[in-house]
Amino acid sequence: MEDDMRQMTAEELGALCTNLQKACTKQLRNEEASLFGTLAAYYDKQRTIEKAQDLKTLLAAINTDLSNGFAEASNAAEESNDRGTKRALVWGEKASKLLKALMIRYEKQGSALLENTNIWVCEICGFVYVGDIPPSVCPICKVPSFKIHPIQKEAV
């Protein structure tokens, strides 16, 4: 196995599993999708909680992606003329910028940000949207809005 596969955390392995689960669903292989789901659920249970963190840490991580991570990957994609990777990076960078803007808005507005409205996430590209109704097509990946899902307020 490649070294980078050996050092993966539970969240990374979980994301690899849910990616393959979605791929099986698209191929209408429901049994295989559910088996990847079982494996993803195992990694969900292995997750560790990071204590004493705050929004600043999250914002710093997004900023590192925006200043380094995307640029490094874009250079590599450019070098090998990998248009698929460029596509993922263009979408991912746009979604990351929106996440950053959202964190900054929350720091200023606090709970007022979501008090009388909803928050939505596009299942295809990770686009986040605050508002009552999502746009009819995703502005990042252009998927129709039935793939943009609301994130509910949990009962506490």
């Binding site: 990616n19 995307f70 250079n75 990998d82 709970s111 996430v121």
Partner: protein, 161 residues
């Protein structure tokens, strides 16, 4: 290749029921009975007035080759996004403010999608690919003594894919 119905496009004109030689299109679930469908027949695909039926391939080509540099940088980006998912989940779990929890759950969900897309482009796009099979085999041997690990699920996946 068997036929499948996109139920959000299907307008229930039922022409597929008229043309299907095996009755595979007539089911109570709304989906075609794949076990009855004839490989590559496509009569229903061509007859459907709302273009709601398509063929699902059973064999796929090997995914596009990925350079080592692309793979490495996408794995690094996925690590960062997965780390942000963990951070957002941790912040959500530590809080009892419903709005902050909602916001962090949205951030976590978005980061999960972003990490998934990195793996897709890093060479893990196709469940049937060699890369995925090799990874699953390695997971099995790595977790040989781990009783909580769903070894049976992984073994079934390796048989089916």
């Amino acid at each position: 290749m068997h036929a499948a119905r996109n139920t959000s496009l299907c307008t229930k004109d039922c022409v597929c029921l008229f043309v299907c030689p095996t009755g595979a299109t007539d089911t109570e679930t709304g989906q075609i009975d794949f076990t009855k469908c004839l490989d590559g027949c496509r009569l229903c695909v061509d007859a459907c007035p709302s273009h709601a039926i398509y063929l699902v391939p059973s064999v796929y080509p090997a995914p596009q080759e990925k350079s080592e540099a692309v793979r490495k940088s996408l794995f690094a980006l996925a690590k960062s996004k997965a780390g942000q998912e963990r951070l957002a989940r941790s912040l959500s779990e530590a809080s009892d403010d419903p709005i902050f929890k909602q916001l962090m759950n949205a951030v976590a969900t978005s980061n999960r999608v972003l990490a998934e897309d990195c793996y897709r482009e890093a060479g893990y796009i196709l469940p049937q690919s060699e890369a995925v099979q090799l990874w699953l085999h390695n997971l099995l041997s790595e977790h040989e003594k781990d009783e909580d690990f769903p070894s049976d699920a992984v073994k079934t996946l390796l048989e089916k894919l």
